[in-house]
Amino acid sequence: MRPGWRWIVPLSAVPVLVLLAYGFRLNPRDVPSPLVGRPAAPFSLTTFEGQPLSLADQRGKVVVLNFWASWCHPACYDEAPALERSWRGYRDRGVVVIGVDIQDTAEAARKFMSDFSLSFPNVRDVAGKVSVDYGVYGVPETFFIDRKGVIRAKHVGAVNDGVFRVEVERLLGEPA
């Protein structure tokens, strides 16, 4: 073999190694949502109290749409107090928090809500249509929707007070 060719075989492994090094550093949970920047899909569901609730009725408010499940431990349990606290702090400033319970039993969901004394409206997505409309692939996932009804941010994993404040303040600061 000519001297130059001796390096071809080991060198051909370099691009493969670079690709693997890049790929294995990505978090498979960090799938960018194509929905950010697009209008939030409309939905009409029923709250646990039996009240109809539709997204269209919230127009003009900043909406924090949180997908959760009672079996989602510990992330949903971590964020529930933060969501309730933030909702109480912002409810008078034109912010509404809506919880969407998915792939859950009504009984377990009610226990979860009472354990955390959740006072913001919660609905059940029994058929999973709203979940798919929002491209949900796990819980918890939270969407921040501006006053014009456009999805502006998606947060995967537990929301804390800081995340809530930063996202909501940003949307409240925009002209209505």
Binding site: Q103, V132, G135, Y137
Partner: protein, 162 residues
């Protein structure tokens, strides 16, 4: 034994999910105008979609509740008159191309389709070239002319051997 009975529904569910759907069967839960949506049509779309809560399973193959709901949505959209491609596109719009089990044959992911056959062709070419080199008879150095003294010496040695 109690454990086995407890696992039975799961085993049955996995078994049923893994079973190929007979194409001739026209079991329907929803109807498209007058034309019913067959399980096979739902299956065809569902096999192209990634089960979002699973590892490397399609919506057709997963017994998870999310996949069951997604199959229901596929069936409903087909029944509403959408083509299979439109249903797939709906999921791509919501989840991005990540939802597709087969990477699209364009842009960066085109490499995934092109590189393996190219690598095979290259490998075959290199192998063929090496085989040709190895099977070629080794080049023999040109014979040196034998002078008279050497010829005499060989003759003597042959004689002494006999």
């Amino acid at each position: 034994m109690a454990l086995n009975v407890g696992l039975l529904p799961l085993v049955v569910a996995v078994f049923l999910a893994a079973m190929p759907v007979p194409t001739g069967r026209a079991a329907t839960e929803a109807t498209r105008g007058s034309a019913p949506v067959s399980d096979a049509e739902v299956h065809t779309v569902a096999t192209q979609l990634r089960c979002v809560v699973c590892q490397s399973l399609s919506v057709a193959d997963s017994p998870s509740q999310m996949a069951v709901q997604m199959r229901g949505i596929v069936r409903e959209r087909l029944a509403a008159g959408e083509t299979p491609d439109e249903v797939v596109q709906y999921f791509v719009d919501k989840y991005g191309e990540w939802i597709l089990l087969a990477p699209p044959r364009r842009g960066f992911t085109l490499l995934v389709w092109i590189l393996p056959p190219l690598a095979v062709l290259l490998g075959l070419a290199v192998t063929a070239q090496r085989v040709r080199v190895w099977s070629r008879p080794a080049a023999t150095p040109p014979r040196e002319p034998i002078d008279a003294a050497m010829r005499e010496r060989i003759r003597k040695e042959l004689e002494t051997e006999q």
